[in-house]
Subunit: 289 residues, 4 copies
């Protein structure tokens, strides 16, 4: 575990960089100041990069658009690996037909639809379609009435033996400098504990997130895990998951982990990044750029 | 563990009977048919009895009234020990002044008020009174907006080091023959896991419920634990808690535990009642009554 | 939560003081220096006191003797409330006859024996006595072969539906200034998770420990919970349990919680003592004593 | 979820078959009777197969040899994917040098050694080599003194911020028709809970096991997840993990899940195999073979 002053020296050591989104590239008020320099440097050095994010609220296309609006055109749809994409893969492989009941927004649901598989908000599940429901998906904390629809979800899962998929494991997300919101991962854990059945979860720290990104790269080139570095702001998702998958890891201090807590948290959790760096912003000074 | 045909023979062995409420005396559609005979027999035999119930939705006075309306005048206010009463005792002993923020109905909150201690629904906590909030209480799953007020509760507990009290540990309760509702205990567990602080819980199987009832009796007479029997329909609250407190226990099959599951559940959980009885209804036939 | 300089001023406010043992009165190398002054003051002021300790390794008589040997004759057998005593009460009330298999030392087992109830080390359970085993008790981490006897305990609990009692909930205890030992509570939790049945636990923070001490006092005098203070070194046992039972609590910094960590730990856990005091040692200077 | 009479019809639908070892191919007394016919059929049909097993007690070479001795020469070293192999990959990628302290047998440790990385049984860790210890590995429940070495492991992990790797997540394994043994996964969970740090686990149901096997195949051919079926006897490892990875799954009833419990367990856990089949034995009758 080493302190690194300039994030550039980390990029220089690896062929591919995985970035967490929230707390690394952006936060509640927009882009992390200066982060566009990092992507300029990556492009200039022809290094590959991917955004590996616990997010099932929107499609990769929509996620990419939101970066463009913030002023980061470098992040295109094909650079994004989201827990929503793993959920879609699961449905494509494992749920042949029927209705997928969901908790989330319309945007989150549209992405997982496909021919032969309809999505239906939990609020519209009723006696006439109950028999056709073949899976329940937890997509987003918005877009539904918590009290009504969570109680409906509990009773659906008690009565039917169907898979329940949690498309984002996070229990909370930051809303502002001082406030957080309960995330769909926290809500799903409550429903799971009331129902007493085992739900399927997608998202860091689970290896399947990293494998999905790793596979994307290997479709067109050879790469070893030792040539990839994972950059994140959260010890128990980004760093733990990256370490377990066999990647080197960088903890940055622009999000969940603050400078004043970093030593205490690493010692308390036993989760060690390969490097600690103040931010993922590249200092371009002294470069002919 | 013995099968008992007639609940009367159990009453005959003990001086005091503790009853769980839901699944033993009443269910979602009213009184358990015939249960009034049990209380008639208890009165005729001059046996003491108490209702020991995980309920913080109303005061003991209101709980007693609801039995009277259902046709069971025998259950008076002084016969009821609720987890709401333990919450009130905790506040009286440990929270001197300030505002108690709560999640629940007006009825549930009125009961815990006292001079010097105001209650305020979570929805009304704001910048002007934030500093005065000295405790947070989870009382009932009704009476508030889940999404808005649970997010407010999470942020209150993140920012202030104050006690959070869960006045009912149950994670779900039956709503009809086929449906359940998420209970305030399940909701509070979600908030606790997001906040990461330790909440204080009142309710069976915790011993403090049984101790409260035991103390009520001892205020005016001597009694040994071996002279009390606990009657319940749920292994992991009524029976586990009664056993641990040192009481003999009766599992009845009119609520959460069904005849067809009883052997499997006892073996799987390792929680053994002293007796199993079809119901808590006394068969008065053959009695001069 | 207030900082108190002199522990004496706390004693002066209450009629009864409950002390945790390890980290408050003694540590791995003997008595906490100066603690005898506290007991001298308590005696001079005719204040009652009790030692409320998670310990099932020896009888109260033997525990008292060990204090006498260390130079603290004030702590007599009747001043001690141990989790071993709750275990004995449970067996007296709930296990009529048969053999109680145990994991622990001979000393720990002798205490729970009584007429009609034999104890047998797990290592001596075999085909000839298997049918008569009516309970399993986890008493102490010493006195048995972990590998052989824990595997035997797992299979005993899988095959028989009998109660398993954990006589001390602690997961670890300090062995020296730098080392800890796994305690019987940690070992029992492993067996419980492998077996999948629910064990019965005695020890702080559970209320039953405090109730046992409270009942001892009430046998000969009236006392309110507001007249008792609990003194401990551990937030999640002594302080959490004392608070929940309705007692005022003092956190001392001579054991598990160090001065440098105290603010962080209180904020992180949300467990607040009524007072924080450097130690439970009374400063007698300025007193006519 | 469909009942299948002849396992052959399942093989016929897929290009690759993953088998769990214990409870599917072998049990405590040797091979599952008739299982050699399955491998004869697989060979005759030129179908690929892999053994995907939670086992870190021996190297793949030694695991293969044990099948040969039992009379199953078809299972060669390159057909085996074990959680021990994932542990070795982790060490190769993430632990550059120093000493790896281990709990397990000599056999289990030899396999993970490599140039630059020494292994040392926990019992031999002492003051002279303490500084050089760079990881702790839980390999096997045999080969060490549980009491002494687990206490040493607890104190090692409390004092050093190094990774702890659990090379087999299983909490127990069958020893005979009636008895189980505590497995290293159960032991490691106890150490983890006492230490309070986050350990790294390898083994089903975690996706990384399935990915490792999937990658082995893709080194020399193209394959889709929909062309692979996972066969196992345990719902919460083989079936849950296979499902989540996107594979079709077969639950066989020759191991942990018995015919009489299968419906109850699927309903209770919510974990659904694609097929249920009495065993993985192929009925060759009616085949020109």
């Amino acid at each position: 575990m080493r302190r690194i002053e300039n994030f550039r020296s980390i990029i220089d050591k690896y062929k591919v960089v995985f970035f967490d989104a929230f707390g690394v590239i952006k936060n509640y008020s927009g882009l992390v100041p200066g982060i566009e320099k990092t992507f300029a440097y990556l492009e200039s050095e022809k290094k590959e990069y991917y955004i590996v994010t616990n997010d099932a609220s929107r499609s990769p296309v929509q996620l990419a658009e939101s970066y463009h609006k913030m002023g980061l055109p470098a992040i295109t749809q094909d650079r994004i690996v989201s827990s929503g994409m793993l959920t879609k893969e699961y449905l494509d492989l494992k749920v042949q037909d029927g209705i997928v009941a969901y908790l989330g927004t319309l945007d989150s649901a549209h992405y997982i639809e496909r021919s032969g598989l309809h999505t239906l908000p939990m609020s519209e599940v009723n006696e006439s379609n109950f028999d056709k429901v073949s899976a329940l998906i937890f997509l987003d904390d918005e877009g539904f009435n918590w009290c009504d629809d969570l109680n409906k979800a509990v009773n659906l899962m008690r009565k039917k033996t169907i898979p329940a998929i949690v498309a984002n494991t996070d229990r909370a997300y930051p809303l502002s400098a001082t406030n957080v919101s309960i995330a769909i991962g926290g809500i799903a854990a409550m429903v799971e504990s009331v129902v007493g059945k085992q739900f399927i979860r997608f998202g860091k720290p689970d290896s399947q997130m990293f494998m999905f990104a790793y596979d994307l790269i290997r479709e067109y080139r050879q790469i070893s895990k030792s040539e990839i570095v994972m950059v994140g702001d959260t010890l128990n998702t980004d760093i733990l998951g990256g370490n377990k998958f066999g990647l080197d890891t960088v903890l940055v201090l622009t999000g969940n982990t603050l400078e004043k807590d970093v030593e205490t948290r690493i010692t308390a959790s036993g989760i060690m990044p390969t490097y600690i760096c103040e931010s993922a912003v590249v200092d371009l000074s002294g470069l002919d750029f």
